[in-house]
Subunit: 259 residues, 2 copies
DNA sequence: CCTGCTGTTCACGTATTCCGAACGCTATAC
DNA sequence: GTATAGCGTTCGGAATACGTGAACAGCAGG
């Protein structure tokens, strides 16, 4: 699973595993972590102190939390590609125009990361607390609309590489878990120019996504618009309407990027 | 300097040093990193591969970049405290009202982190590329307005702790580098309720900041409004005007938080 | 073709990490 | 008030796994 080419640095891996465990448990104590990762308390102790010293963890009483030191790095990654920043702007107008949730997603290492997220109707801009789609979340490529839209534009070889690495885990009964079915779907997506996601990621959530490509036909990322199934009708026409909105926005963006 | 209580985990430290070096050089090759950190190429090789495998670095040809894997963690940290999210909203209205740059900053481990940043006049919301203040940046507490505003509300003991840990490095000729002067300044800030920064961080940049406190008088964070010195007049009245705007916004926020 | 630069691999020795038991400490229960 | 259970902390010792440096492969340019 975590196939590592040469000789992985185990110590670093355990440090990172600790950080991950802290995040997933939303604050954990030393003993909890030691038990969960099956490590000696003293080992965990040393790691935690090192990570706190570096600012990646914060200690509050006896529980540890994720530190803000991650921020300078994530913002660096987010802003590294100026194309990303340009694209991110568009999320807001998409959300407003459709009155639904909109996001901009990017592929890295075979996973999809949400770079920007917005809700329509809501006046509050950055407000995106409870949503499973808020910025910074990571998805598999095969069970979200944006992910599939991007996969459809990658080479078959690359797609297989990604599937081999990350598999096709199911999150709902509708998730595509079969390679052949997925490749059929990708063909459909290529034909119609956009991808749909009908409760494949989350029950009751439906979305439509389309990819952004650069001048040299490389995939930059993808936008998607989604919402509860009761609001996004299944019928062809309303899906098309949203898809058209997406494609128009992307056209406009792509010509802006071409300058 | 990097005083670590018990036995620091050296391997983790070097991994993190590598990540930092990659960020600071905005993309670096293996050999560059090996030379810069004075490590064997093979060592760097193993670390880099491990970090890529974990998603914290990305390899593009032969240069390494910061990976998006930092995002899920930074967003977690950013959203952990719901108070932060509530406060962050206010940055936008501050920026619009004053027509200047506004940010919300939080203290962690003796350092100040920008959680949200906005520019007035500009219609683009998240657009905050080139500014040294954009979200995710980290500052020392003593040379920015928000930092000083927060220091003024901490106990003397805690302030000394922070100074001991991080020092008073100068970034301009106006930076306060003397402890006694700083404590005098903090007294002034407590008296007037807000802090000013007159080119102490960046030449030509002036700002005004005030801290947000919780119901139990704990310091939550601080807002600041700033801009080029030629736009933010030095005279008392205009400073007061902005300060009043800040304090009003904070009052309103604090009563919202008290619910 | 050769030189200089990448990144990669590998065997070796030693420094480092990891463990486990013992210690303080606080809070709860009795 | 004492005992106990839980926490984090410290420390010595042992084996692991980290770091090194030299040798290898691939590529660009002279």
């Amino acid at each position: 699973m975590t196939d590592d080419g040469p000789r992985p640095v185990k110590t670093t891996k355990t440090s990172l595993a600790l950080v991950r465990a802290v995040r997933d448990s939303d604050g954990a104590t030393l003993s909890e972590l030691a038990e969960r990762l099956d490590l000696a308390k003293s080992t965990v102790h040393n790691h935690l102190h090192t990570l706190v010293d570096e600012g990646f963890l914060v200690r509050d009483g006896d529980t540890y939390h994720i530190g803000l030191q991650f921020l300078p790095f994530s913002e660096h990654a987010r802003n590294r590609n100026p194309l990303y920043s340009t694209a991110r702007q568009r999320v807001y107008s998409l959300a407003e125009k459709t009155g639904n949730e909109a996001d901009f997603i990017v592929e890295e290492n075979g996973r999809a990361y949400t770079l920007e997220y917005a809700i329509g109707e809501s006046t509050a801009r950055g407000l995106s607390e409870s949503s499973p789609f808020r910025a910074g979340n990571r998805f598999h490529m095969h069970n979200c609309a944006s992910g599939k839209a991007m996969l459809a534009l990658l080479s078959d070889g690359r797609v297989r590489e990604i599937l081999d690495r990350w598999g096709l885990p199911a999150t709902t009964a509708h998730t595509i878990t079969d390679e052949a079915t997925l490749f059929d779907e990708l063909e459909t997506i290529r034909r119609q120019g956009y991808a749909t996601n009908d409760e494949e990621l989350i029950d009751g959530y439906r979305s439509i996504g389309a990819a952004v490509t650069g001048p040299d036909d490389t995939v930059i990322g993808a936008f998607s618009v989604g919402g509860p199934a009761y609001r996004l009708a299944v019928d062809e026409s309303s899906t098309r309407e949203i898809a058209q909105l997406l494609l128009d926005e992307i056209d406009s963006l792509e010509s802006e990027l071409a300058l």
